[in-house]
Symmetry: C2
Subunit: 181 residues, 2 copies
């Protein structure tokens, strides 16, 4: 089941959703992810399991939805004063998060729930923000899609498929390659 | 549970493994992947479920092991006479396979079973084979790792995370970029 669009805030349905999201976060803070079940989350949130099944369909989809909410950045990517610096700072933080145990679990949730697409839209949005800021500064900047192919893709591929965390030196090579004319 | 190293062929244990692999392939040919269970596979292969649990631990690991076996190429990548042609032919076939429904299911199995690393080793091995053949022809060739970053990573990223199949035109751009000095 695909993750649905966010519902309007403030209504009864939104409050139920928030209580379920909060229950997942609180449970994840105290026990391993593998031990989470729909009945446990429902009981913690004070709803029936069928409320969860009706809205999310299954556990991976609920977990992916919660991850997506936590992944949605509160703030814009750090402004270091240059496109090169912004990309490197963004890449270092992204690799840190994705390569952590919760980050890897999140990738599994996204892929199992069919929501990987929303995850990659968020990532592209951050790169778009960084390039637009560079253009406003008067710098030249490649298209966000080129940065996805030359920087984000090898980062994600190495973390997810070869289980290596790229070093800062490696990230610098990818950033330089993406910015080379 | 990680996939174990292949066991010696011919022994009793190897024959049991083959019968279980064959049962998975036969079942997959006639019914949807989601309907497969360990007891069903065991019954089809004429073994007890505990034989499967003992060797593979769980269903995703067994499915990933079978996928890995099928993924292991019988033949070397096609020889088109040039590095550029070999890479493009390899990329087109890889995208076709990975983007199919069984291909996507395979990626999920690999990621869920923690065997993604073996999958990426196979892929790197194919690129290594192509570059070594190019060097033998007297062509220049980049390191296999550069081809992983600049060609394989964006291919896999687009298929898995943005759910788009890259076009041949897009593959040509990545191949050209990877071969540009």
């Amino acid at each position: 089941m695909a993750i649905r669009e966010p519902i309007r805030t403030g209504g009864r349905s939104a409050r139920v959703q928030q209580s379920i999201h909060r229950a997942v976060c609180e449970l994840l803070a105290t026990q391993p992810r593998e031990s989470l079940t729909v009945p446990l989350i429902a009981s913690h949130a004070g709803v029936t399991p069928s409320t969860i099944y009706r809205r999310w369909g299954d556990l991976p989809t609920l977990l992916a939805d919660v991850s997506l909410e936590r992944l949605r950045p509160d703030t814009a990517p750090a402004d270091t004063g240059s496109l090169h610096g912004d990309l490197l700072a963004w890449a270092e933080q992204y690799v840190d998060e994705l390569g952590s145990e919760p980050g890897r679990a999140m990738v599994r949730d996204f892929i199992n729930s069919g929501a990987a697409c929303q995850c990659s839209n968020l990532l592209r949005g951050q790169l778009q923000h960084i390039t637009e800021r560079a253009l406003q500064r008067g710098e030249q900047a490649p298209a966000a899609d080129l940065l996805v192919d030359q920087l984000a893709a090898p980062m994600v591929y190495r973390v997810v498929f070869s289980e290596q965390l790229p070093s800062t030196a490696q990230l610098k090579v990818w950033v330089a390659r993406a910015l080379a004319r």
